[in-house]
Amino acid sequence: MKALIYKEFRELLAPALVVVLGALVLLLVEYWRGPLLDEEHRVLASVFFMLGAPLLGLLAGSHTLAHERGRGSEAFQGSFPVSRGAIWAAKLCTALLMLAVVYLLLYAVAFGTEPQGAHAFRQTLPDLGTSMILLHAATTFFLFCLGFFLSGMRKNPFEANAVALLAGLLLLMLWMFLAADVLPRFFGPQLGILYSTPSLSTPAILATILGLGLLVASGSGYMASLPLAYSKRLWRTTIAGAILCLAIIPAFFTGVRYLGEPGPEDIGWVEHAEVSPDGEWVMFRDYRDDSHYHRLRSRLWRMRPDGTELKCLARPPVELAAWLPDSQSVFVSWGDRGANFHFLPRTHLRWDWLIEVAEGRTTSLAELGYVEGALPQFSAQGTYMSYGASLVRLKPRPVVLEMQLPQKATVVGWEENKSAVYFSYSKKGRLTLARTELPSGSPLGRAVAQGPEEAASIKLSPHARWVVWETLATKSASTVATLENLGSGARLEVAGRPAGRAWSPGEQYVWMQTNGRQMAVVDLAHLRVIKELGTSNFSGEEPLPWHYWSLDGKRVALATHKVVRDKAQSPSDRVVEWGPIHLWVSNAAGSGLRRIAGSAMTDFTDFDIGGWTAEGQIIVTVEKRKIISIDPDTGVQTEILTSSVPPENSEAGGSH
């Protein structure tokens, strides 16, 4: 058996070496330019591998079976004192070994040389035991064997038109995806991904290099005895196919895919305009129509607060985007929830990125593990990030931290200068706040505080100075927050909970939301409530639970709307009717509250505050069709971006 395997291995060595060389070239390119295939995904990888399997089977079979017949050594082989089963097993084992090597290389290239890639690769390992992976593996094996034995049907499999056509079609398919994925990397935006289409770049690149390598080797006479040496039909088929596919790529998924940079004229429905923490940039998302399906598949853009320097940063389907505290990059969760392949159950494809906002350069964070509704949480200076169950150190370069937290533990904050992470977990039925220093922190950390017996959740202020225990008062069925200073242990009980972005930049004040209709402003220096704001302060309207602090921490922007809960008074006969949204500005302590009196403001039914610019303007997304800049002092509005969606469709985006 050893001699048989040696013989088969030597005969497969030439194509295997070409594959290895191809993979080395790819890895070198990846080393210099970054990952070629950041968007690769394990489920898709299985699909690609299944598609590539019959081609590899044909190649392997052409060398081990057809070549045996072609050169006439079958009879010599028949004289060996070994069973036919052993001969076939040696051939198949060697071919499968080649398949395994090729696929390992594909994996290596797909997941990259980055530590995140290795992390992602390890994440795939538990899947090996699942029925899905087994199904893919079995299908791949079957298709490989099909190609392998198909090649034995004729003396030279590539002499048969049907087999040459099959190989050509497979290569054509691979090259199509190669062209679709790789070309835009050089001529298009950074995330040049064919919309809802599996990436086949790696197999395509390998197949191309393999093909070219075999062509060169055949031409040089090195492989004069191999079947591919005189298979001109194969080359004709694949070259013609590649030219054809290049021609059809721009028309593929018309309207979704661009070979060039998309511009303002391409912008669809806009939403989630958000000013960077330093107030110098505005990012927003757009999507092609207002259906729920497409709202989960948006593009990401950035521009200056005056509307200049517009650039598309990421292609669909962007699910989530958030500014890093340094304002230099954005975190993007790119994925397609519920992509439905005809031959696979519903899949959930995800990838997480950092995109440098100025140049658009991307850094892969691999897949961090999706948690429905989870938002990334950053340390104050953006050194660390937690997302779902993953901890990432972002600087100097992103590394996924291999830290094991207790079961059901949640990261709640960071202590930047000491590289410490705070997390909460339940200990003897009580919420406990623990702290551990990275990177070699203890999984259990050091418990630094324990909440009241009935505490239901815990929050930490951005600079980790204050901890907030939230409890539900059983009698009033309202939330009570206990603020505790982590340094002194001083406590204050306040009705309500800190709303989104409630802490002032210097953590002098925190704005609490009480039962949805009232607000309380807490002076943290003196640990007392200094202002209570109700609907009477907002002309009878109810405040929305989001606050936007100006960069200097002196002013707060917030929104209100009129809520009609009496069905009889509702113009639309609904149980609850929301009225138009209005923008208000207050000083940090809650005094000087006033409504922005822009004439058009009262007409807005859909309204989203994006934050304060460095110049003191407030950025607002209106009706999903405009992004405007508002001067809080004069109420003057400046339109900085308008959607290209025709006005007659605007009704479709009118709800919030």
Partner: protein, 299 residues
Amino acid sequence: MTELAIETSGLTRRFGRLVAVDGVDLQVPKGSVYGYLGLNGAGKTTTIQMLMGFIQPTAGEMSVLGFNPLREDVAMKRAVSYVPERVQMYDWMRVREMLWFGANIHPYWDREFAEHLRARFELPSERRIGQLSRGMQGKMALTMALASRPVLVVLDDPTAGLDAVVRREFMESIVGILQEAGTTVFFSSHIIDDVERVADRVGILHQGKLIVQRPLEELKASVKRVVATFPAVARAIADDDILQQEGEGRQRAIIWADCAEEKLHKLAAAGATDIKVEDCSLEDIFVAYVRPRPALVEG
């Protein structure tokens, strides 16, 4: 069966309507060199492929060294070496690698004997098989066949495609080595000189049927050419044992399968004079057996 290396009974192989091998009863004694003769397409290779277990007979039984080639092919091939027609080995292998390969394939490989054969055939160790001449490749195949110390060697037309000089050299190599090794040899050929030079027993296959199977010396002693002169223009002689007869004027040449004294008396009684009995070469005998017999005219 114990003294026979190969024995078949009614061995038949049909390919559709074509009967390639028709009821062949082979008997190859151990230690013999058996020449299996036949025209191209007579069924020699088909017989050998059945004996090696590559194809299944349509009918009949066979035994090779006591093994059933179909059910015990691996055990059989440990004792039997087979060199196919126009053997094609792995061109990319060097002679040295090929011998290593053989040593790892055959359980009874004799490394010293393999090296002895390589030296005797002057095969360069580092030369690739594809770079060897046809004759050298034949010798390489013979080395591979003999180095496993087989009890039986089956050669399927081993000299096909070789020129006369190389063919003679190759056959003499076989003779020399086999004399040393005492191995049973069963080889097919359509080149009669080769068989006559080395075989001690022959079988002639014609249109799928084994029409002769005898020791070579016995065959040559039995089949004779008789040249006789008749008083008048000679007419054809009717006799079932006559394989071939031709005449010109009063003289007639007859090849008798079994040239006994009574045949000569019969000629003398018919008025023949100047009767000469000549030995036949194996080629004459083969041609006489396989050439179509002319219609007889009663004399």
